[in-house]
Symmetry: C2
């Protein structure tokens, strides 16, 4: 019998696991540099050897998370908008408290492999190590300003690599299409086109998704739009390529223009809901 | 007129803000050490100067978050347990999707100042920088094994300081009472005592809370039990001291025995729900 935590990798031998190679290499990447103490830690007593290597979390924090509220733009497919109910008030109960009803694919959120793969890892099963990754930002905002259904292409990734070198193993690749600011402009984020009845936002091309899955060793990929796939793709090929491969996605990323193309480190504060297909996450970058 | 983001600090001049001093000092702490590249970043082109100082997020990741599920022990005061509803399935809809209804004070979660202060910061207003902090772990598990309503006292904090030095400015102080493993033992986490009708778990004493607020410069305090206050305190003095002072709390922390007393760095992946009083968070430590 398998323990629940091993079910995906052992009981379902054909089930993809989250970037195992990438994960190991990610750990190596994060551990291969010389030790540095991020917070001053007075030397421990003789009985407690100092941790080796010492941890470091440093640099400026950039919040890549949109504020979530009941009026955050929600695509029709996820029909129910967030609902917030006041459950207690300081005046009446001695404390303020709310109960929120939220679709797992709302706001700045993570897509777990389970979202598109019944055998895939849930959001709670994603290894914590995979939630920390070198952040690669590929920008297509200039093109997206002209063509709202443009896609992140393999050529965009290769152009990034010509400038910054090969995508580090264990990295997370994010598409910056300039869509972040549209969240606060009514209608602009989902960008419904009444003429065609289509939603027009940029996404990741199936070819680029396949390249990231097959030719690079990343833990996940993300976008600043509401979906990994452009709104005009009836078959969500980017999702169908990335998630069943064991990678995770992040959608509705905010403020990618505030982080460098290369060199930042991403921390995805994913919710840990049992059997969750994803969920609103706090996504931070250290630059 | 104030912009929404400034309302707390400017429109309500008497409203406490989150550890402004602590925050500035926290940034200084995180930035004062020599630069180190956490992820290999090929030198940027001449047009893009490399970020300085380079970010670093390194070390082993320890997940301080309990898995959240519909059977996570929820204290009576927060009457409604989490509810999960399958909103779509891969077979029928092409993707798996769920909608969760969750009280903001469920599972491993953050308490924003707003939880106990109508003028306090909401979870979305907490500065992202404050969610990254040197982690101080004060252990009272041996005492708690004998006395389930023991409290973290000023003397426990002073004993920690004799061993490791003064609590760093901008730190987060966590009480490890050995309660984490009880989550999976039915009844043991909330620990209802039928004889007295009381819930018996450890918390932070009002004096220790006042010491952290008044005599040290921390961003927040946390516990591995369901509440900052012991179950037997009718008036939640630890909450009433810590949160209105502009600090945040974290409750139901997991696996604090896996991190050192001193030297780890905490990242609180708090949800960013508008006007949220708190919420389930992904809490990671780098050791």
């Amino acid at each position: 019998m398998c323990s629940p935590g091993l079910i995906e990798s052992l009981c379902h031998p054909h089930a993809p696991t989250l970037g195992r190679r990438a994960l190991l290499r990610s750990a190596a990447v994060l551990g291969a540099v010389p030790a540095l103490v991020g917070a001053p830690s007075p030397s421990a007593s003789a009985a407690t050897p100092p941790p080796d290597p010492a941890p470091a979390v440093r640099g400026r924090v950039v919040d890549l998370t949109h504020e979530l509220s009941t009026d955050f733009p929600v695509w029709l497919r996820f029909t129910e908008e967030p609902v917030t109910r006041q459950a207690a008030t300081l005046a009446a109960d001695g404390y303020n408290d709310k109960i929120n009803t939220i679709n797992e694919h709302t706001g700045t959120h993570i897509d777990a492999p389970l979202h598109f793969d019944d055998s895939g890892l849930s959001v709670a099963q994603l290894p914590a190590e995979s939630l920390v990754a070198p952040l690669v930002v590929v920008r297509i905002a200039q093109r997206a300003a002209q063509d709202p259904t443009t896609e992140l292409e393999v050529d965009d990734i290769l152009a990034w690599e010509r400038r910054y070198g090969r995508i580090p193993d264990g990295a997370f690749v994010a598409m910056d299409s300039g869509w972040s600011q549209r969240v606060s402009i009514p209608g602009a984020f989902l960008n419904y086109d009444a003429d065609t009845g289509a939603y027009l936002w940029p996404g990741i091309s199936p070819e680029a998704a396949a390249f990231l899955v097959g030719d690079r060793d990343v833990v996940g990929a993300g976008v600043d739009t509401t979906s990994l796939d452009t709104g005009t793709r009836e078959i969500p090929l980017a999702h169908q390529t990335i998630l069943p491969a064991g990678l995770y996605g992040v959608e509705c990323l905010a403020d990618l223009d505030q982080v460098p193309d290369s060199g930042a480190v991403l921390v995805v504060g994913a919710p840990k809901m049992r059997a969750g297909t994803g969920g609103p996450a706090r996504v931070l970058a250290f630059v």
